[in-house]
Symmetry: C2
DNA sequence: GTTAGCATGTAAGGAGTTACATGATTTT
DNA sequence: AAAATCATGTAACTCCTTACATGCTAAC
């Protein structure tokens, strides 16, 4: 398997292609628009990833539209549009069902969250809670380590600590809101499974997180 | 050179050892207390780094104290305390003088900031401003990409965007405050160079950033 | 007609992690 | 005397980046 199981890119690509077929160049722009605040992918990782997904039969080339075919007669076509195969849709579902550390660590959480629309309510909740515990552990660790520190710190170090703590605390509060919304939503409307025939058969109980507090 | 130039760990290790000699295990705990909100290092990267710094003559083993020597008679000593060499101090200064992308990218900014106490005022300012532009570019890129997006996004994606934008905007505001403080501080007391004889001879004009606004 | 941006790809390598292996020291 | 945690180290591997190489296509 050329693409390892922990691969964030794989999920990002499959998730994006599930929405609509795309070629590599545009796919990258999409991903960097979607996740640009958290991470950015380069072509050097994207194209090899597409290739290995193709080899594994998870994606396939979409035949060019008539308009594109005209230029295609010259020889090699300049755009290669990929779409998910049935296997790819299965694989995507599999990835979206995972709710371990691979879903809530820094590098992966954003990507998993970005495709929450296609994720089961139960899994969403586990991921959100997992991420929250992860961050709380981090707060705990740094706080106790800091408490054990004898020497007084310089003001730059203090400022860095303060800013770091504040950022993480903010994310925890954000997660708390999301979790509350998830739970109330899940209680109000029990999950309903719709057979759409496209391999992603679960419709979330509501349109997603409606922000309850500001 | 076993440790590449872009190595964040090298700076983190040299910076920590400049404060006080340490052995690997404790060094890691220190670093993870100092930077735990941003990143964490594992032993698998720390020990090889120490080894290569040792090979390069940037650090050296500190002879054990009499108390430690007692147990050392049994054979191999269980703690290896490292301290900076003269070359190591030079190298640290060199690293602290760099103010390119390698200082203000996500992975490295925190580490550089953590040792701002030992960094020249001018370099501090360039790093803070570089980071700010970096984040502003990111905001710009995501915002325009989002503006070009035709389809309406689901609420999870929107929420992710909102949270991401807010976090980055917060960091920009934080940087603005720090930059303002740096500038006023630098204006008030022109930099004074103190010969301390330990290789780090520059004392910042004040104790660092005194938070001016909340 | 030439610059800028679109589009695809590869080779080499960097910066780390995980998992393992081992033994010393302290606590209970 | 068992368990925890302190302490050091290595091999294999992952995931991604940088730098390069190439050609197409639209705009000015």
């Amino acid at each position: 398997m050329a693409v390892g199981k922990g691969n964030v890119l794989e999920l990002a690509v499959l998730g994006s292609l599930h929405e609509t077929p795309l070629h590599g160049y545009e796919l990258r722009k999409r991903l960097n628009a979607l996740l640009g605040m958290f991470r950015a992918f380069s072509y050097g990782s994207l194209y090899p990833c597409l290739r290995s997904l193709l080899n594994d039969g998870l994606i396939m080339e979409e035949p060019p539209t008539p308009a594109e075919s005209v230029t295609a007669l010259t020889g090699r076509r300049s755009k290669i549009v990929y779409k998910l195969t049935a296997e790819g849709k299965e694989r995507l579902q599999e990835l979206l069902t995972q709710s371990g550390p691979s879903a809530w660590e820094d590098e992966s959480f954003g990507v998993h969250f970005a495709f929450f629309r296609h994720t089961e309510a139960e899994v969403r909740l586990r991921i959100l809670e997992g991420r929250r515990s992860r961050l709380e552990e981090r707060l705990e660790g740094v706080r106790t380590a800091l408490a054990r520190t004898r020497e007084r710190l310089d003001s730059y170090t203090l400022e860095l600590q303060r800013h770091g703590l504040e950022s993480v605390e903010r994310e925890v509060r954000w997660l708390n809101e999301l979790i509350a919304t998830e739970r109330s939503g899940a209680r109000a409307v029990p999950e309903e499974i719709i057979e759409t025939g496209d391999g992603i058969g679960i419709r979330p109980p509501d349109e997603g997180p409606q922000r309850t507090a500001e």
